[in-house]
Symmetry: C2
Subunit: 342 residues, 2 copies
């Protein structure tokens, strides 16, 4: 039975935990915000369940608590940021902020970030463009979990990308997708339930299709649409890792990942109000689409996450008992208070 | 039995045909080049088999033979081009050339194109960035052939995107992919052979999965990865159609499509030679990946197309008898010579 927790109180609590783990206060608040925002949007794979893993990284020194973030290249519209191997959220937020700044006043900004670590859900960064009347793009490379099409060694991540686009409605258009058919977490769910997985989700360690979630976990995720997902993952690896001079390809066997952020001010192409009028028309068309059998209707990408966030901001965030136990153990080890309301 | 045709001679022949259809000489050569280049790369869906359809459009006036191409917005890095409802290749090439020009000298250019028509394979445009030491991006919206996830009316195209990235090797990294699981042409192939199609390729007109290629053709293509392909298709529709003020969504029920081109000069992020050294490392890693059972090894995205082009430039381009018949009928109707060597 889940316990329902207030999102604001959870952010404050998580900020305190990250500060006790050695982060600067503002950085602790940022990391807490990214995690709870992901939970609010129903993306629990990138929510507070990440805290125990992050704590392990900070304690072992594989993640540096107070990194030096450095701009190592600045061409006006294009920058490269070194994340100092701190928490990825700190480097990523620096990158996105710089892209937003450079795009201000009808321009465009692109920032490649290297020497970072896991930075949470990419939508968090892309969405910051929306109130700035801009289109946001964010991508990262991930640990190696896919085999290139035709290969049987993992050397590509299921690198995700996110776009966020203003609509003039309460929910912006937000697409946040990985380049694998399914996330790795779905294999674990099947394994815990003792179920087989559908053919097409994963390969065994020889690169053969498998329905066994254990063999799949030792193997690899299948790229979305085969060569399409493989190709897109490699392109994103180039934008993130190769452009920035950071880790890419098999280099990701060691800690340190890379990101890419981009902001396009809409006014540079078309008057903003005209753009919003057209986006409203597109949203209405999609909403008015007759539903397929068994469907409750068509939603804009990112709309269900937006609705869930609104509901959870009002009614609270459900957390599973196992997760609460883990979080309270982490808190106890830092002499921090328990998760609020538990 | 296919007839093998010299690619250069075929370009000259197709240029003559398009000139007879009323195009300006340079435009006729451009359109011929895009088509034969697609055939050389094995992308016959976007090759000379398009000529009879284009001729119908030109003769009916739905495509204007000598369009006025106009730059309707210019913000330095961002432009909007109106294609005058001419052949899409003319507007698209104008857009890509402007993006390349604006990106020269370590910068970035983005061009949205409206009031265009089918412009061929997107890789043709993206690849022009490679000799300019830049990363190229190209996208277009397409006729409505997909239902939004959960809907049963077609209102999204399987909008493709292309990236081209220099590698320092003979083959650049080129990804050119549609956002549907398979191209519509694969349904026709199955129908002609009297075969069923796999579940997951297409929906019938009620939005239900089908294995019947006839029902599928009356229905819709399935977006790549469900909501992922739907989401990506909508994002590309925004970059192309909404940003440019052109057709988008259900507006694509009428003639006129929109494109988006972008060029990123690599030097703005990192010294070009360093980038190329890292790309070489990435290519070597992928080539050295042990092959999966039954595979001949891992290739870089776009590498097979590059190899096929080299081979076909030397040995000639095979054309099917049915296609040759269609092309010769078109030529006869214009009092043009037959396809060379047929």
């Amino acid at each position: 039975m889940s316990t329902v927790v207030d999102a604001g109180a959870l952010k404050t609590w998580a900020t305190d935990v990250f500060a006790r783990l050695g982060l600067r206060e503002a950085d602790a608040a940022l990391v807490a915000d990214t995690l709870v925002e992901a939970d609010l949007r129903g993306v629990s794979s990138h929510g507070v369940q990440r805290m125990t893993g992050y704590a392990r990284g900070l304690r072992s020194g594989s993640i540096i608590a107070q990194p030096e973030i450095e701009v190592v290249q600045d061409s006006g519209w294009a920058l490269v940021v070194d994340g100092g191997r701190g928490m990825g959220q700190i480097a990523a937020q620096t990158g996105m902020r710089l892209a937003l700044d450079r795009a201000a006043g009808g321009r465009h900004g692109a920032v490649a970030v290297r020497n970072s670590t896991h930075c949470g859900a990419m939508a968090y960064y892309a969405m910051q463009a929306v109130p700035r009347r801009a289109i946001g793009f964010a991508a990262t490379n991930a640990g190696m979990n896919m085999m290139p099409t035709g290969g049987r060694e993992k050397m590509v991540g299921n690198n995700p990308l996110a776009y966020a686009i203003p609509t003039g409605r309460d929910a912006p258009l937000v697409l946040d997708m990985a380049t694998s058919v399914v996330a790795g977490g779905k294999l674990d769910v099947a394994r815990l339930r003792g179920e087989q997985i559908p053919l097409g989700w994963a390969l065994d360690k020889e690169g053969r299709p498998t329905t066994d979630p254990v063999a799949a976990r030792q193997g690899a995720l299948v790229p979305l649409g085969g060569p399409k997902g493989y190709g897109l993952a490699v392109v994103l690896d180039v934008l993130c890792g190769v452009l920035s001079g950071g880790r890419f390809g098999k280099g990701l066997g060691l800690p340190g990942s890379s990101h890419f952020f981009e902001v396009y001010q809409i006014e540079a192409f078309t008057p903003y109000d005209d753009f919003i009028a057209r986006m409203g028309e597109l949203v209405d068309q999609l909403h008015d689409c007759p539903p397929a059998d068994g469907s409750t209707g068509v939603v804009l990408p990112g709309e269900p996450e937006h609705r869930l966030r609104e509901q959870r901001l009002r009614a609270g965030l459900p957390l599973e008992p196992t997760l609460i136990g883990e979080l309270n153990n982490l808190a106890a080890s830092l002499e921090a208070p328990r998760v609020p309301g538990t």
